[in-house]
Amino acid sequence: MPRASIKSLIPWAFPACFGLALPAQVPLGLLISQQSRTAFTVQGAGARAEGIGGAFTAVADDATAVSFNPAGLGQLLQPEISLVGMTYRRELDNRNFISTDQIPPLNLSDSLARDQRSLPTFASVSVPTKFLGKNLVFQLSWQRVFDLGQDTKQAIQETDPAGIIPAKFLAQHIRQKGQVDVWSAAAAYDFSPRFLVGVSFNSWRGLWNFQSKSDESLLPLPNSETEFAQIQEDDRLQGSNWNIGVLWRSEMLNVGAVYRGSFAARFNSRMTAQSNVEGNQLPALFTASYQLHWPETYGAGLAFRPHQQWLFALDWTRTRWSQAAFIPQGGGLDNLNFFDLRAESQTPDAETLRFGMEYLLFAGNSVIPLRVGAFKEPQPTADSISGEGRVFRGYTLGIGWKVRALSVDLAYRFSQGSRRASQFLEADEIASGRGVATSRGQENIHDHRVFLSFNFRFGNEGANRLLRWFFVQGN
């Protein structure tokens, strides 16, 4: 690494280690997993919405509506089911990193960690009915709000530019499995042709398992001793909240707003750690059972349809992640922010902006929508040393095919973010238990996602017959 690059990093690299240390015992896995946590955004699901950049709060007119704005459900006139899936590929590119646990700092070779997964993200059943002559729609849905899966490996060489300190080999394997799911029951009602209101009750269920192993060996490898720090952590989160949405619609303009309520979630964590590093401070076992204040999200959107083939949409949402903190119970995690485990948290509130447009092509009986969108999506993480947040900017492209009752939508989303960041790479920095990362450099993340949605509408008669059979009579 050029010395000039090192010098440019030094101003923010060293104020680090004093006064920023964590309490003695914390679920350190939360911090380490955050290194590549890239999708912590409270957002709806669906390829149609993703195709227009996720700006769907004021549109919300298909079975995925509940995940954006429950009021939009009131627009459905026929029963619908929907399924959404996603494939993603993430690349975490670490460049120009230095290790600052020694002076002068040591160079770390560049590394690229890739991660790829496919998973279902949303499923729903919606049934419209009539109440006082107006449309009343019920929906049951499941959404994977946060996929916390991760499987990344890094292999890095640490070298002294002066050639005095022997070179080291650092290897880190992070493996996390799990998710945060939301099960929702929603209802929406069109009070008038223009004004719709919707509510949903949401049950949050989070369960994830984190494992990391960090090895540190002197080069050449075969005969050297290896220091390691190994952490295993199981986390569980449970809670429930209410969302409320309103939608005002006209032929050309829709205005929507949504409020996702805050709640106190039960959070349980169990961490075990092992290390052969001299002076290891990691607790062999740490358990915590806390209440976590999960913050509210609110947002608003505009949709403009100058012609029935054109749609323009704009969304703004805000999640107060700075308020995501453990509720005091007289323990070590009191008042600590969920993301950086600090009382004086640097975690920023996330304000997202989304914009998109859709054009509908007609081909015989089929409708082929073409979509494009752009977004800015900050993540609830600020680097503990540089203070820089992880902000993704990206664009989306989408296409669909709708024939009769079936809609198939496909969307591609690309986003990237860069910042000066720190990492827990070395076994001895993890084993120190201070929770202060000593490896710092430039982090570049490229995130590719492909969404696929199926949406199927049923005739009202079938649904009515089924409801009648179920509730009224047996034939």
Binding site: Q75, L76, F191, F195, Q323, Q329, A343, V367, N460
Partner: protein, 304 residues
């Protein structure tokens, strides 16, 4: 605060009349109309299709309803079909005329309806025009299907006497009819009923599956009583009070929510990194137990 209250009041004034509109979207009304026609509920079909026409007068071969759902929208020709089934030949003729003018609605459907119209007119025997007299109509109770209540007393007997004054034969399942004036009927609040047999009932029904229907003047249109101003019309909507109160409650709640989010919370918003005192207070009942558990935990685990 005063500004907030004024905003809420303004919102109520604006939103409540909107909520009072007992109308659906044109797509919803159109689909309801077609479904009713398919079932043979032609009076309901007529009301729904007329509502659809109010909301969207232009016919279209492809029109967006919601989402990416498109439908062909031919309200005039379907309205004509239901009007024919109800025996309202003049109104059907007008609907067919409008259908032809639209230049969009399919000629095949229109030609079929026009043919039917001719047959019905030919089958209808000319009758002498009667003098206008107080309109009477039979009551059929209980109704097979409730229609929009007639809100318009007959201003005048129409030119074709049978449309207005003839007595409707009772259906098998219905009780013997009574001869009542419109005024009596309104006092008793008896809704208009279907089915009604058309005068030219000797002809076969136009729409397959439809029941031969005879019309009365009162059931022809769901239009509200006129002559008392739009406010009176709105207040006559059965759901006006319900929705106005509901909307007022919702708007007040939203106003309160807005105050809580944007103003109230700013005052008591904790500094970054601190926790809202209210949430702290919420957690107190369990903290003692957890504290004691956590204090003993290191000893129990042999860590201290």
């Amino acid at each position: 605060m005063a500004l907030l209250r004024a905003g809420c009041a303004a919102a109520i004034l604006v939103v409540a009349p909107l909520a009072a509109q007992n109308q659906t979207t044109f797509g919803q009304a159109y689909e309801e109309g077609l479904a009713a026609q398919k079932r043979g509920d032609h009076a309901i079909a007529v009301a729904a299709l007329r509502r659809a026409l109010e909301l969207r007068p232009q016919s279209s071969a492809r029109v967006l309803t919601y989402g990416n759902n498109f439908t062909s929208y031919y309200p005039q020709v379907y309205l004509a079909e239901s009007l024919l089934a109800l025996g309202k030949l003049d109104e059907a003729a007008r609907a067919l005329e409008a259908s032809a003018k639209s230049k969009v609605e399919p000629s095949s459907l229109r030609e079929k309806a026009e043919l039917r119209l001719k047959e019905l007119r030919a089958a209808r025997k000319p009758e002498p025009v009667r003098k206008p007299e107080p309109a009477t109509m039979p009551i059929q109770a209980p109704p097979a299907t409730v229609l929009p209540a007639p809100q318009e007393p007959p201003k005048k007997a129409p030119e074709v006497a049978p449309k207005n004054t003839e007595h409707i034969p009772v259906e098998k399942t219905q009780q013997p009819s009574q001869q009542l004036t419109y005024q009596d009927r309104e006092k008793q609040q008896v809704p208009a009923t279907k089915p009604i047999i058309p005068a030219a009932s000797s002809a076969a029904p136009l729409v397959s599956g439809s029941v031969p229907i005879r019309e009365t003047a009162s059931s022809s249109s769901p239009t509200p009583t006129s002559g008392q101003g739009p406010l009176a019309e709105v207040s006559r909507q059965p759901s006006y009070l319900t929705f106005t109160l509901a909307l007022a409650a919702i708007v007040a709640a939203l106003g309160g929510l807005g105050y809580w989010i944007f103003l109230g919370r700013q005052k008591r918003r904790p500094k970054r990194g601190q926790i809202n005192q209210r949430t702290v207070a919420m957690s107190q009942p369990i903290s003692a137990e957890l504290m004691s558990r956590l204090q003993h935990l290191p000893t129990d685990l042999g860590l201290s």
